[in-house]
Amino acid sequence: MTDKTTSFAQQILDAQNLAMQEDPTMICMGLGIDDPKAIFGTTQGLQETFGEQRVFDMPTAENAMTGIGIGAAVAGTRVLMTHQRVDFFLLAMDQLVNNAAKWHYMFNGQMTVPLTIRLIVGRGWGQGPTHQQSLQSWFSHIPGLKVVVPSLTENVGQLLYNAIMDNNPTIFLEHRWLHNQIAPNAAACQPLTEAPQHTRVLRTGSDYTIISNSYMLSEALQAQKYLQQHNVHCEVIEIASPTSIDWHIIYQSVSKTKRCIVTDMGHTFCSLASEIANKVYSHCFNALLSPVSIIGLPNYPEPTSYGLTKEYYPDVNTIIKTVSNNCGIEIAQLKSRQHHDVPGEWFKGPF
């Protein structure tokens, strides 16, 4: 039997299909879920397979629809909602924060909220101030919410399947530049139904620890490969869930490497990255040879213009520069992509 290639988007679809099969009460809703574009291909065919009652398009009413999802989930329906941008979901912060996140606690553990909300980070040319925000730090700040930030085709399906089957409200943040990511071997992906490992050492190394997730993890892995050629050996750690980090893995790594970069796609102020850095300082203070570096977005909104965004997003070269500065060695930058605002030639906009 030959192995088939698979993609990040395909794994997301596979996870939804399996969950829908496993739990006949489960429903999926979202704007455009059954339209010709099928939410970047991630919901293709769900309605045909499971019917219009269980898979449906919805009114442009994010706030109430989230409340409706919570109410249905509390009553016993497993609910998956998908939004094409994180930013569109912000209308529903009240329902999410005051209801979904609090319900189990506030009613003394009597009820659960089996609700998962897929939010897509829209980075890409011209997305500007209101169509590309990475808000994992916000969501992680709220007790009672679980937050999952997938990065790789090999475990995204497993992470989503488990998020859906979890009886806690979960925010699942997908960076859309990952949707086309291909894994050469579908059979080598983590089995969907197995419990995921949320903190994983993806590459081992003795000189530097790089902690990352989402699209930034791709840049980190690229940096690791390149730096190895320059005899700097980085350990790369994936944080797939900011709300269930296995801190021990991080402390162990930094104690060994004595240097650490945390890179995350949010604004750096009050961020997930700064929280991880804080924990590293507290637990590995004596081991550190240089300050923990935080790489993220500057503290201003993303302008729309091509010309104004050239230095907005950190990339592989930001990591290389940080490492070479901190280690006091000269390492040449990698050649940049032709356009900073697209992941590759395949991306043509406009949406």
Binding site: F56, D57, G126, Y300, S305, G307, L308
Partner: protein, 318 residues
């Protein structure tokens, strides 16, 4: 007739501008999501015809026509799409966040329904300061599903605010027809009436009707100081976002598309003006003037520079 020729000119101008954007969009130099108004141009023209400088407007993601009809600067619009420093927000906002304060076009915003409360707040300000003028709030049928729509209309009715809510009902939100989003047969204008607004509904592609209704509604706000909602039925010719036609995707019935193409506002205006012996000459001149203006705007945009990255941190706070 003189009026109608003016209306024709404005409508034609917006059509030509949007078509020029569409023609050049694939060069990938206008790198921002762009929602064209081709097919829907008459609505803002018919509204703006009865507005003065003191009247203000807010709009949504599909804002080019609203901006232009209100008197927004064309050169700044095109430069904005190219992300240049000479754009109306110096490249910060792009197509979905336009502004031209000089003509009273306060802003368009990209999150569905989220400028409706802002427009309502502008009308509150006008009322509190006894300012001259009213506010226009443009949005689509999809936006009427957001809570902010009901909450704003309720407040406007409660406080008798001087505001004209303009709903461009093109029957779709992206690929989703009204039938999967709102109960069949319910009318947005009747609903608004029940909330407490005087409301109107009209074929937004029919020049005489669109003009008469706009005038009646705006006059009502001016004379009574109370809010109105006008629901204009119209249709977008091209894809939701981007320059292409997308009827190969079959999300709209062919017959429906054809019916609306036959009811194109620009054609309707041409038909109405056809009897005017001077129309042909007027049209010829109009086309050449407009083409020239467009060419100049694109040349200026392409040759302008991007803003400086050093300025990116300006204006986070006042």
């Amino acid at each position: 007739m003189a009026d109608l020729k003016h209306i024709y000119f404005q409508t034609l101008r917006i059509r030509k501008i949007e078509e020029a954007i569409a023609a050049k969009y694939s060069e990938q130099k206008m790198r921002c999501p762009t929602h064209l108004s081709i097919g829907q141009e008459l609505v803002p023209v018919a509204v703006s015809h009865f507005l003065t400088h003191a009247d203000k407007a807010y709009s949504s993601h599909r804002a080019h026509a609203h901006y232009l009809a209100k008197g927004g600067d064309l050169v700044k619009l095109i430069a904005e799409l190219y992300g240049k420093v000479s754009g109306c927000t110096a490249g910060r906002g792009g197509s979905m966040h336009l502004s031209d304060l000089e003509c009273g076009f306060i802003a368009s915003t990209a999150i569905v329904g989220n400028s409706i409360p802002l427009a309502t707040g502008n009308a509150l300000h006008q009322q509190l300061t006894r300012a001259e003028g009213l506010t226009v709030s443009y949005f689509g049928d999809g936006a009427t599903e957001e809570g902010a729509f009901y909450e704003s209309l309720n407040f406007a009715a409660l406080k008798s605010l001087p505001i004209v809510y303009v709903c461009e009902n093109n029957q779709y939100s992206v690929y989703s027809p009204l039938s999967v989003r709102q109960p069949t047969g319910r009318s947005i204008s009747k609903l608004s009436n029940e909330i407490g607004l005087k409301s109107f509904s009209v074929d937004g592609n029919n020049p005489t009707q669109a003009l008469q209704t706009s005038q009646a509604a705006i006059n009502y706000v001016r004379h009574h100081g109370k809010p109105v909602l006008i629901e204009y039925f119209t249709y977008r010719h091209r894809e939701h976002c981007g320059p292409h036609f997308d009827d190969d995707l079959n999300y709209r019935e062919q017959e429906e598309v054809q019916t609306w193409l036959d009811n194109d506002p620009l054609n309707n205006l041409e038909k109405a003006l056809d009897k005017d012996p001077e129309f042909k000459a007027f049209q010829k001149l109009a086309i050449s003037d407009i083409n020239q203006e467009i060419e100049q705007a694109f040349t200026a945009a392409e040759s302008a520079s991007f803003g400086s990255i050093e300025d990116n941190e300006r204006f986070i706070y006042d």
